[in-house]
């Protein structure tokens, strides 16, 4: 605990800002039903009420739902879905990456070439193609994005574990007759963790922005679920009347990714041991 505080004290202001932002978002996401004044898709008033009128602090949206409530629930849905997707991407990419290095040979070659082809197509284009075929629903969205994103995790996991597989203690474990799975989880994984943790933050940002882009295009999270990017899409006409309300959910997305990026930046500096020389 004491070490933790010491670490926090040594953090640059940007990282502390990032940590605070993340804590705030997690809090809002967890306690959304308690914090929100109305139900998630409850219609409570006339459409497009301006801010502050009739007791709606942020006004109402295009269907007369309370903006503040939608924003609070949006934290839960948008972040939750992005988080699950990132975890799945890490599970797929991490497992295949570690398996590829541990087994080597044709398994490694085959997986490597498959990833090459997947990465040759821009993610957004590929995702749009698949979503045209499968139609959009949340489970499909999560699986598609996780698989597409796992290619990056695969590359990193493979690159990192490549340096560990050749070390003596792995060889020793092999000679002891340990199984592949044991070697992966007990020897290789713990030693390749720091870069993977940093990558988790970056991938989360990417997935989060990616899902937001899809939702903004009308192909991601669908109503009645509250989602920030869809809110921007629904409210975007207000911009031309100089009303900045649609920027609130967009700003909510931006603030979180900025926060996570700041923390990752700090973490990378700490773990990589890179010090900018004077």
């Amino acid at each position: 605990m004491e070490r933790f505080w010491k670490l926090l004290k040594s953090a640059p202001p940007t990282a502390i800002f990032g940590l605070l932002v993340i804590a705030l978002y997690v809090f809002v996401a967890l306690f959304a039903p308690v914090l929100a004044p109305y139900g998630e898709s409850e219609i409570v008033g006339p459409e497009f009420l301006p801010r502050g009128e009739e007791g709606f602090i942020l006004g109402t949206d295009n269907l007369g739902r309370d903006m503040l409530t939608r924003l609070i629930y949006g934290a839960r849905n948008t972040i939750g879905i992005a988080f699950v997707t990132t975890c799945l991407a890490f599970l797929i990419g991490g497992v295949f990456g570690l398996v590829a290095t541990t087994l080597g040979g044709w398994v490694d070659q085959l997986l490597g070439r498959m990833v090459d082809v997947l990465m040759a197509i821009p993610t957004l284009i590929f995702a749009l193609l698949i979503l045209t075929i499968t139609g959009t629903s949340i489970p499909v969205l999560i699986v598609v994005i996780a698989v597409l994103d796992s290619t990056r995790v695969f590359r990193l996991a493979r690159a990192v574990s490549m340096n560990i597989v050749v070390l003596d203690f792995v060889e020793a474990a092999r000679l002891r007759g340990e199984g592949t799975w044991w070697i992966i989880t007990r020897e290789i994984l713990p030693n390749s963790l720091p870069p993977l943790v940093a990558e988790f933050g970056l991938r989360f940002c990417f997935v989060f922005l990616f899902i937001s882009a899809l939702s903004f295009l009308g192909l991601g999270i669908k109503p009645p679920l509250a989602d920030w990017a869809s809110m921007v899409r629904d409210m975007r006409t207000l911009i031309s009347f100089a009303d900045p309300t649609p920027l609130l959910p967009a700003g909510a997305i931006a603030l979180l990714t900025v926060g996570v990026n700041f923390v990752v930046d700090w973490f990378l500096h700490k773990t990589s041991g890179i010090r900018d020389e004077k």
Partner: protein
């Protein structure tokens, strides 16, 4: 020299192989549709006769490999088939839009590349000063912003409040060049903000990386000024990675236009693509996918070839 030609040839062959595999994936993706295209389009209510007639009309009764070759052959000759939504020739609808998209991406690149490289050099020059830190924070923030957020902020301030640029980039072929540039300014600026950060950070990193090398130390010991060292000694050697990053970002630009085009209602390929995805207009989606993927792959290929050509160390591999 023969070696380098071989490397480039290998890289090109690999690139075209990738293109081929990608076209196969795009084609097979639609094949995997539950039932087939005819059923998906005509819906549950269609009688078996209508479905069969439709299959014959579109050529769905032929075996897949024949259709793939037909499709690919058509694509290569600029014949993209017909849109399901309005039965019009896709090539006629796509040509102008693709030109618009390239125009937007090119405008953004013309602004972004010089800006990113000079900011990167400046940041390397004034490393660890307030200027460098500020730029670091600003670029990190810019990378984190969703494109539509940047777009709408620009619309709010530059179009609605200050009224400098139009908020909707409505272009048509009869506009003059400068009028065209003026109308795409906001989307181009949005794209610029999104890509500059990455390019600038890589430029800075490439130069700083070189500053640790002995020949730079030698130059410093000779008492040459810092700016001269960076511009005359470090920059030429950092060009290879910088060119690579620039071309990769250009590839990103061509794809990144999709969201920005929707924000500004710009009549480019990206918006057409998204509309077709929503309508599930498969032939158009396939055509757009292929065009975007091909542009992306070809630009990345260019980046690879350029980095082989511009790196003397790659010319003499061990």
């Amino acid at each position: 020299m023969a070696k380098i030609l071989k490397m480039v040839a290998q890289r090109l062959a690999l690139g075209f192989l990738t293109l081929f595999v990608v076209s196969l994936i795009i084609f097979l993706g639609v094949e995997l549709l539950p039932g087939d295209l005819a059923e998906a389009i005509l819906g549950q209510a269609a009688t078996p006769e209508t479905v069969a007639a439709f299959r014959r009309e579109v050529g769905l009764d032929l075996p897949p490999h024949t259709r793939y070759l037909d499709w690919l052959g058509g694509m290569l000759q600029g014949d993209f088939g017909r849109s399901l939504a309005n039965q019009r020739e896709i090539s006629g609808l796509i040509g102008v839009r693709f030109a618009n998209t390239l125009f937007l991406a090119a405008t953004a690149a013309v602004i972004a590349v010089p800006l990113a490289v000079s900011l990167g050099v400046l940041a390397a020059l004034y490393r660890n000063t307030l200027f460098d830190r500020a730029i670091n924070v600003v670029t990190l923030t810019a990378i984190s912003f969703p494109e539509f957020f940047v777009g709408y902020i620009l619309i709010l301030f530059l179009a609605v409040q200050a009224n400098i640029f139009p908020s909707i980039s409505n272009v048509s072929a009869d506009l003059g060049f400068w009028e065209h540039v003026y109308r795409v300014m906001l989307p181009a600026l949005t794209l610029t903000l999104v890509v500059v950060a990455h390019m600038m950070r890589m430029t800075r990193a490439a130069i700083i990386n070189l500053l640790a090398s002995p020949y730079i130390e030698m130059a410093m010991l000779k008492g040459i000024s810092r700016s001269r060292i960076i511009i005359h000694h470090a920059l030429p050697n950092a060009l290879a990675p910088i060119i690579n990053v620039i071309v990769i970002n250009l590839a990103y630009l061509v794809v990144g236009v999709v969201v920005v085009e929707v924000v500004f209602a710009y009549p480019g390929l990206g918006q057409y693509f998204v509309d077709s995805v929503i309508k599930r207009d498969f032939p158009v989606v396939q055509a757009c996918c292929l065009i975007f993927a091909a542009t992306y792959i070809l630009l990345n290929l260019t980046a690879d070839v350029l980095s082989i050509l511009s790196n003397p160390r790659l010319m003499h591999p061990k």
